[in-house]
Amino acid sequence: MSLHSPWRADFPGILALETEHQTYLDSAATAQKPQSVIDAITGYYLHGAANVHRAQHVPGERTTRAFEGTREKVSQWLNAQDPAQIIFTHGATEAFNLLAYGLADVFQAGDEIVISAAEHHANLLPWQQLALRKQLTLRVLPLADDGQIDLQQAAEIIGPRTRLLAVTQLSNVLGGWQPLARLLELGKTHGAITVVDGAQGVVHGRHDVQQLGCDFYVFSSHKLYGPDGVGVISGEAQALQQLRHWQFGGEMVRSATFESAEFNPAPLGFEAGTPPISSVIGLGAALDYLSGQNPTAIAAHEAALHKALLAGLIQYPQVKILGQPEVALVSFVVDGVHNADLAHLLTEQGIAVRVGHHCAMPLLKSLGQTGAIRVSLGLYNNGNDLLRFFNAFDQALELLQ
């Protein structure tokens, strides 16, 4: 497998891990960072840190400019209408919680929230708990055998009582693109607020939020080769108006007395306290890096790697692949072999893959599994990584069978 990655050399982390004989195949959990992201973060600290949106002094001005620069870059990356529609949170999980709190007033007892059976806990539990607080009904779109949301059943479940539809673009377990266009159309026909979990999808290809037509698109920086500690909500202008403030303090306040306060609109009104400044600046560098690469070449490389991974796994009659993965990752179980045993022996051989429920317990359960092994790919992975994985996999199976 001579699948060469021309981007690998830009990622010191993957090279360091290789020197340590670690084959990193867990990018769906978090990705390595390019040198330019690391430079942007250290550069920020080396040149003098300052808080944002507070001070008139030069360091404050410079930092605010860099911070707001990232907002513009994110806006361009997603083709949002206006940078003011980009809210920074501390991660995708916090973003969903923000939405579940910020939209709470929209619901009345008996209203329905619709999610899918493929959701990560982050796009499930905030809605489940909101439903419990407000006596709403949480409805779950079932998956067809291929792991795709069943559109026929979706058309029956999404209806006039649906106030909100929250679905993943690309499941972190199944690795298949969900039929978002049809689903969002169904949601909008019934006047539902639509939320897309782009945590995995954003990493693979460019996505245009205006074209998608969702009200809110959510992702985390750290999976998109940026630093951890930052999440993004891209909100449609009207939908943002429906959000109530949820965390209080810092520059989200316009004016305050002891008795009452007024708050800023989005985005600042939803960024209470000091934001993760260095990480936001690092995310800007990640987007600069990605913008500088040839997207067709990246897509072709990722597709070739994925194809080789799938083709390799299919050779084993005892391997059962979950869903029909199209990109980025493959989750599987091996007949007669305990996931934990396999994970143990892969770890012994320096293969960094993920075992477990992948923060999607209900999904795994609906697939009849308690866990699975997941191999996931980044643009820096290459044919040798796969070779090392398959060698280790063979050795592990030989020991276990």
Binding site: D341, A343, H344, E348, Q395, L399
Partner: protein, 140 residues
């Protein structure tokens, strides 16, 4: 703790694992030692004996005979059964006081298995150790 204090099976485990030169040998040994675990009865494989906090299913049964503790354990994962087995040979027969003082991390270190106890591991060994210590402390 000096080697003289070790039970015969613990001494055997120690010399076997210390002689293992590769990860394959360690894995094979773990599976062999796992096969030695005395099976639990169906009644013992109950929710009450489940140790949670693991990717795998683990059961731990504790009995006190006079002054000394006797543990039995099982898991659906083979390598974990091996880890449980080399744990049990070290702890079985000890009194609550001895158990409370025993440095099990050091034991796994000596066996060359300390990585199995790292905090990011969800293999269940840590949860089993915690449960044992709780039992020992609560009866000491």
């Amino acid at each position: 703790m000096s080697p003289q204090d070790l039970s015969a099976p613990a001494t055997e485990a120690l010399s076997a694992f210390q002689a293992a030169g590769s990860w394959e040998q360690r894995a094979r040994l773990l599976m062999q030692w796992g096969a030695r675990l005395e099976p639990l009865s169906d009644a013992q494989l109950c929710e009450e004996n489940r140790v949670h906090g693991c990717e795998s299913q683990v059961w731990l049964v504790a009995q006190q005979h006079g002054d000394s503790w006797q543990f039995n354990a099982s898991s659906d994962a083979r390598l974990l059964r091996g880890l449980l087995s080399v744990l049990l040979v070290r702890v079985n027969g000890l009194s609550a006081g001895e158990l409370a003082q025993l440095d099990l991390i050091d034991w796994f270190n000596q066996l060359g298995l300390s990585r199995q106890l790292s905090p990011s591991r969800s293999n269940g060994l840590n949860a089993v150790l915690q449960r044992m210590q709780q039992l020992a402390v609560s009866s000491a």
